[in-house]
Each structure stands twice: as structure tokens, then as C-alpha cells.
Symmetry: C2
């Protein structure tokens, strides 16, 4: 096991009716800005629950944070906060709203060009407004971690940053808020959480047994419960299991002390930036091709994955590995998330541009072995056409 | 899955050489009291590492916190703190030292009789000194949770309390500090962590798949790695896996949203108080008898345990359950922890007194069903002779 530091200070309130407890978590005298997306929270009753829970607070609103939150939108919220003396942020939504809120929290007192928060990876953040969140879309794990991904439309950039100062103080997770999610978002969330888990698991062994078993527990849960939430959107238990699995997939716990490989995310971000596909769609395109490309250096963990997750114990090592990758692809497809560029009517003509963007973003030595060079990335993209 | 609140704010620094990072975690101007036990940390080099790491600090010492920390000892530390203006506590040791330090932290500003901290279960603690810890014995999970068990020698009481104010700020876990543990303490730690896990797992199903899988991951890890740390005390990887398993067993994570059954601990505490056995020895005596007694209400989870942990899938349900209980007993015995009163030269004559103490401490409706009455507890004790 490698050395690690693990810090997960977010207080989690999980279950039915937890939104009503918001007033126990946010100081009564806070000047609160509630941030949300396109308005689905008004249709599913979450908006009303939040406003009721915060009755008596000085409550402001900022809506319109889009999927893959845009820098151009977020800086408008920063201006609003400065003008109105807001001192507490409440993100209500999925990973995009929470990620966007983290950027906003850090930008309010950031000296100079706020885009540098992102380009510097968050390391020079010195203060941030306190954040809490009400999660409505289990997927990214943003609700309890200190990471954020922000896009800049004018340049086609999508990049991440992280800093302990943007950990949410409290995360409210009520699985009932996910009953009305469109199937596509539900499926995207399951696939996103599954791939987050694999990116911390499918590298090389370091004899970290707890981390491996926990990761496998998340994967098995998503495989069992993912199809159920698609088939029965208001099955509370399955929604709860998916929600908790997605949080644990990127809370920091399963990645503590083990090598990690975020190449799938890096390659996927460029696809979203160029072609506008959903985040999870891009990951589902990249991952199978990446695992096939890196099957030699990931051999031992791929065999463990084949055995413990897909119960593949017969046949040659090569065939077990190929079957495990194929089973992963089939799982994504069964969730309704397609796994090839061509499924989204995208041909190979954009690949040079994707690779150029990877280079521009310094993503030239990816993977747990830092051996996914632009040439290798290009092979992965081409194998995914 | 049941509703839950999970709050795990302790920053964990895990791995080789982490003690040297203490000065990054404790404010430079803190007046620090280092608390420890019987002096083993002076023999194994941990004392020296801590003192070196805190060079330049106003560092005081309080030694002599014993296993099952005694109220009578702890109030002496409280007096020392008040006299010397100490404002930061650093526990260096195992669960007893950390538990004792939590009591001390809460007692310093507690109005009135400090024993009420314990008898009130910690609920009226209003402030506590900040605590960090250097763990040297993986077992209790105290390093990242907010619970403590304190004994009072003059009355033969051993009781627990908990409050979020006594969460350690930082926990340093260097597996190398455990290389020199006596085999008995190593084994006790493995058994303690294993039983903590079972007490949050072997109840009734609530379809909490992540919690179940994580609990099973801890159990499997302890079964695999426990014998290895006995056989090869300086096997870093196995020591690291046991240490991380023990922390996760009682961090709050696997117990969030599931029923819990702490009857084994309640019955065990009385055995320690009356007969002076090690904590883990008492648990190893009580658990198999308790599981047998409650095999009907715990049937579904016992079958899951039998299958996923001990790979028992053939035979009648009854036989699989009995085999799983027996396998658990054999595991404890193989770790060198005996599982019957008679192994410790204790007969049944003390049982009425054990039951009387349970009643005195209000432990009259134990277990996840609150159906372990004093009569049932007596049956369990008698079955364990």
C-alpha cells in the first residue's frame, strides 16, 4: 500500500426527508445563495423543499448552471455574490452544479484572473466561501470531495482543479430526489461512478486489500442496481444504493494509497469539449479501448477484475481479460450508454484535434505508468471509432 | 437502507514516516500534552520520533494510561492540564490511550462531576480540547471516531460515551509502529476489528449493499492478513492492511444506515470489569455463543456471511449457519484468542454478577431487536463457559 492522506470532512445526511434538516447545517445569519441548473428542481419539488427548509433565511438564487459548467456562466454568479454580500453557497443539483459552485466559492476572493484557479489546478486557492449541497444526480462524487471540473466555451477547454477549501460542509443525499431523473441521466450517473471506480482500481497491484475490496463492492453494487433503477425509477432501495455507491466511488476512500489512472477522464474531457457529448458517454467510449490498449501493464488487476466482478475463471489469461472488457462494454450498453464514436455519428476526422487539445493541456504522459503519450491516446481514440 | 448521518472529519495520514508530519498538523504555538501508556513507545522508537517531530513545541507528557483506561488515572491528567494551561492533546498509543484522551479532552471544561460525561453517554459535552493521535495498535477504530470507553476501578464499571467534539483532528497511522507489538496484542487487535465489523453486519438485511460489501471486504482482509502478521510481524503490507481494516471497521462508514448489534461489546465489557480479561478475549468468548443464541433473528445475514466470507453454500441453512459460527471461532483460536470462559480458568460462578452489572448499567434490551434481555444474556454467558 502506498502512503496517503485522506481527509473527508463533509458531513453527510443521507435518506428520506433530509432536505428539511438544512437549517441545522447552515448558520441562521448566513446570506445564502442557492445555485442550481435548468429548473428541473422546480418540477420535482426539490426547489420547494429547499426554500421551505430555509424559511427565514436571507436566501438568494442563481440558476442556469449548465452541464459541464461554463466559466462564462460562473463568473456571473461571482459578480452577483460580490454585489450582494453573499457569504454561504448552497448547490442544489448534480455534479455540474456542485463543481460550478466550488469554482465560484474559490473565485470570489481570488486575486487576478479567476481562470487561473483552473489552470493552476487549484493549488493557489487561499480562501473559499462555505458550500453545502443537495445532491439530485448521483454520479460524480463531487458532493463529498474537493474536486471540480469547469469548461470554458470560448476556448473549448474542460479542466479540473482541487483544493481542500472547497470541500462541502454538508451534503444532503435524499434518494427520493432522483426518482424523476430522465433515464439518460440515471444511466450516465451509473456509468460515471463505475468508471471512477475502475480508474482507481484497474492499474497495478500494491497489495491494498481494503481499497480493492471496497472498489469491488461499488462495482458489484452498480452492476446489480443500475438496471433496477432504469426499470423501476422509484425503487427507493436501489436508488439509495446507487446514490451511496456513486458518492463512495469518488470520496477519496478507494483511491487512498493506490495508483490511479485518470486517462479515461482526460481523453473524455476533450471529446465533450469538441463534440458536446455527455461526460459519461465519452468515458464509455474511451474506457474499453483504453483497457484493451493497456491490457499488458494492467494485466494482474484486469485478471482480478475478471474473476471478482465478472466471475471469469476459465480460459487463458488473455481471453479472461478480453471477456472482462467486453462484459464492461455490454454493461454500459445495457444501461443505454453507447460505447463507440460511431454510435454518436462521429467519425475519425476530429481525432487529430482531440490529440492536439490533449497536448495543449499538458496531458502527454497519462495513466498510472505515465506512458499514455499523445501517440497512444490517438490509438485509443482510433480504436473507439 | 436506513437514514443516516455520517461525519468523519479526522484527517488521516497513513504510511511510512508520517509521524514526522505532526508539525504540519499541530499549531506551532500549541501547548501540547503527549499522552501515552506504559512506555512501550520508548522501547520501539515511537516516543523519539514524536519528540523529534515536535521539536520547538512547548511539549508536556503524561504517561501511565492503562489498558481499559481508568477514570482514576485520567482525572490526574485533567488536573495537570488545568494547572499547566495545556491546549492541545496528542495521544500516542492504542485505543485505550486515545479513548482516555477523549475523556480528558471533554473533562477539562466540563462543569460538575466528570464521571457524568460517561453516564450521560457524552451527550452534554459542550467543548473539548483538540486531539490528534499517533496510533500504535490497530484495533478499536478510536483514531477516527468520536467514541470512547472508560473504566472506573472503584466500582467495576466500564462504559462508553461519544460526541463529535472528541473526533481527533488528525490521526497518524504508520504500520511500522506495529512491528514490535506482542503477538497477543496483535491478535487481540485483529479479533477486535473483526467483531466490530460483525456487530454492524450480522443483524437483519436492509438492502444496504455498499455497507455489506465494505464490511465483507474488511472481514476477508482480516482473515487473510491476520495470520500473516502473527507469522511475519514486520511484513509491512500485511501490517498496513490490518491497520487500515481496523480503522475502517469502526470509522462509522460500514455502520451508516444499517441496524447494529453491540450486545457482544456490552456483555464483554462486564467480563473485563469483573475478571480483568483483555477486551478482545471477552468479545471472542461472547460472540460465538451470541450468534448461536440469535441464529433465528439473524438468519438471513448469517447465511450471507456463511456464503460470502466462508464460502459455505452446501447443506441445510442450519448447518451452514453453524459452520459459519464455528469457522469464526476457529479463526479466533488460530489467532491465539481463546473463545470460552474455561480457557481462561473462569467458571460459571461469576455469571449472576455479570448479569447484575448489565442490569445496573441499563443493558437490559440489547441487540438490533432489543430482545437480549438479562435472561438471554445469562443464557449466552452460560453457553460460553
Amino acid at each position: 500500500m502506498n502512503n496517503f492522506t485522506l481527509y473527508t470532512p463533509t458531513k453527510i445526511r443521507f435518506g428520506k426527508g433530509q432536505i428539511a434538516k438544512l437549517s441545522s447545517e447552515i448558520p441562521k445569519d448566513a446570506k445564502v445563495l442557492m445555485l442550481y441548473g435548468g429548473g428541473s428542481i422546480k418540477r420535482n419539488g426539490v426547489y420547494e423543499q429547499v426554500v421551505t427548509a430555509l424559511d427565514g433565511y436571507d436566501l438568494h438564487e442563481f440558476s442556469g448552471i449548465e452541464p459541464n459548467p461554463a466559466y462564462e456562466t460562473l463568473i456571473k454568479a461571482v459578480a452577483y455574490i460580490r454585489e450582494n454580500g453573499i457569504n454561504y453557497l448552497l448547490a442544489v443539483g448534480g455534479g455540474s452544479v456542485i463543481d460550478g459552485t466550488k469554482f465560484i466559492a474559490a473565485a470570489v476572493d481570488y486575486p487576478g484572473d479567476p481562470w487561473k484557479i483552473v489552470t493552476n489546478g487549484g493549488q493557489d486557492i487561499r480562501s473559499a466561501l462555505p458550500i453545502s449541497c443537495v445532491l439530485t444526480l448521483p454520479a460524480t462524487g463531487s458532493e463529498t470531495n474537493c474536486f471540480s471540473v469547469v469548461s470554458r466555451r470560448e476556448t473549448g477547454d474542460k479542466q479540473s482543479f482541487g483544493n481542500p477549501l472547497v470541500h462541502p460542509k454538508c451534503a444532503i443525499l435524499d434518494p427520493q430526489t432522483t426518482f424523476t431523473l430522465p433515464p439518460r441521466q440515471t444511466a450516465n450517473g451509473v456509468v460515471d461512478a463505475f468508471i471512477h471506480t475502475l480508474e482507481q482500481y484497474l492499474t497495478y497491484p500494491v497489495n491494498a486489500k481494503i481499497q480493492d475490496r471496497f472498489a469491488e463492492g461499488i462495482l458489484l453494487t452498480l452492476i446489480e442496481e443500475g438496471p433496477k433503477v432504469l426499470a423501476n425509477p422509484d425503487d427507493y432501495d436501489s436508488r439509495a444504493n446507487v446514490m451511496w455507491a456513486a458518492t463512495q466511488a469518488l470520496s477519496g476512500l478507494i483511491g487512498a494509497g493506490v495508483p490511479q489512472d485518470w486517462a479515461t477522464h482526460a481523453l473524455g474531457h476533450e471529446i465533450t469539449a469538441l463534440h458536446g457529448l455527455d461526460h459519461a458517454q465519452t468515458l464509455a467510449i474511451v474506457l474499453p479501448a483504453l483497457l484493451h490498449e493497456k491490457r499488458k501493464t494492467k494485466r494482474e488487476k484486469l485478471l482480478q477484475y475478471a474473476e471478482r466482478i465478472w466471475h471469469l475463471t476459465d480460459g487463458s489469461e488473455e481471453s479472461r481479460i478480453e471477456c472482462a472488457i467486453e462484459a464492461t462494454r455490454v454493461f454500459f450498453e445495457e444501461m443505454g450508454v453507447k460505447t463507440r464514436f460511431s454510435d454518436y455519428q462521429i467519425d475519425d476526422s476530429g481525432i487529430p484535434q482531440l490529440v492536439a487539445k490533449l497536448i495543449e493541456h499538458g496531458q502527454t504522459a497519462l495513466g498510472e505508468q505515465q506512458d499514455i503519450t499523445p501517440q497512444v491516446s490517438e490509438r485509443i481514440y482510433r480504436a473507439a471509432v
